[in-house]
Amino acid sequence: MPEEKTKSTYVVKAGSFEGPLELLLSLIEERKLFVNEISLAEVTNDYIAYVRSLSEDDSNKSIAGVSYFILIAATLILIKSKSLLPSLNLTEEEEGNITDLEHRLKLYQIIKTASVDIQNNFGVSIIFSPTERTWTEPLFSPDPKINTTTVFESISDVFANLPKPVEKLPEVEVKKIINIDEVINNLTDRIQTAMNVSFKDFSKSQGAENEQEVKVHVIVSFLAMLELVREGIIDVIQNSDFADIEMKKQDI
């Protein structure tokens, strides 16, 4: 089934997760925490580590699959930034994204818990109904609609309604977009040559080709930047609300 194929794109050494919410939930539940901003901030680093392993794993060819994880990572990063950089003011939309993620995660948690019962009961004591049974001898009852023309039209309709195969981006492109370590290295290099580097300029400079790519770039760059902040390599300065974030090499 195609289902199995999509599933395999998420499989990594650390275990397989169907999607970003399942991963997040398992990270939170592992720590026996409740779903809230604090717990989300706490699991962000592990989440990023997972997304990184996803993008490194050569078997992950599906850009769509990985991008779901990266999109949630963006919100997670916002949450983490809030706790790391109290001066950082979030836009209304960003705040909205945060409450939204919490909300989704709570819904998913309820479903996930309930699904255990579904799993345990599924197919155990099936209530059978003899659906395909026919009581009486068939009586040939055609319909004037049945003729070679209509039958050919119908089969053509059937073909037209088949699911379209998923378009896959070439592998090279996937690699270009998703390699987070490469982004971190670039960032470090640039920090070392220039004292100040604008985050906006930096994420632009990665050669994105379309809007979706830009979005992924910004996220990946932002992830990388925060990683550097965490490791104490750079300082982040945001001069005013919504202003570009400046990055500066920290004096060691």
Binding site: E132, K145, V158, F159
Partner: protein, 180 residues
């Protein structure tokens, strides 16, 4: 659950006659016990919509004769009804593939087809056969009457037969491969 209730459920499922001996085997009881249970079941069905019909050493569950006229008129409605688009689509798949399993039909149509297949069977437009390669598999094919009604002497006279058939087979193979 009492034995008579178990027998009731089983007979409903089977929809055909089952021997007393077979019932005893299935429920791991003696034939005497089955006989007693059948008597109880008969009694409990008095005045209900279902009846137990016994013939020789077999038993079958049927519908109370009083409902005969109603069932007959429903049946007439069922077969006189216009064929739905979904039914026609399903019939076209069965015509071109000539010998296809329910799960293959379901996969091609993207929905479950049990009710539609039942309707096509009742109308005598298709019939069930056992797969020669796997006796546990049931296949569907058009009836002879359907083909003559359409005025085709053999299946390969259907429009674009060769192309359609190979396209159908491609879809089915695709599904099988992705299952591996």
């Amino acid at each position: 659950m009492e034995l008579e209730s178990k027998i009731e459920g089983l007979l409903f499922y089977k929809g055909e006659d089952v021997s007393v001996k077979k019932l005893a085997e299935l429920f791991k009881v003696s034939t005497d016990e089955v006989e007693q249970a059948l008597t109880k079941l008969e009694q409990s069905l008095v005045g209900r919509g279902l009846v137990l019909v016994r013939k020789d050493d077999s038993v079958i569950m049927g519908i109370n004769g009083e409902l005969g006229p109603l069932i007959e008129s429903i049946r007439k409605d069922e077969i006189a009804k216009e064929l739905s688009k979904a039914s026609l689509d399903t019939l076209s798949i069965i015509l071109y593939k000539n010998g296809i399993s329910r799960s293959e039909i379901d996969y091609i149509r993207g929905v479950n087809s049990s009710f539609i297949l039942r309707n096509l069977l009742v109308r005598g437009l298709i019939e069930k056969i056992i797969d020669e390669k796997d006796s546990r598999r049931i296949l569907y094919r058009p009836t002879f009457e359907t083909l003559s009604y359409m005025g085709v002497t053999s299946i390969d006279k259907l429009p674009n037969y060769v192309e359609v058939k190979s396209q159908l087979e491609n879809v089915i193979n695709l599904n099988q491969n992705s299952n591996d």
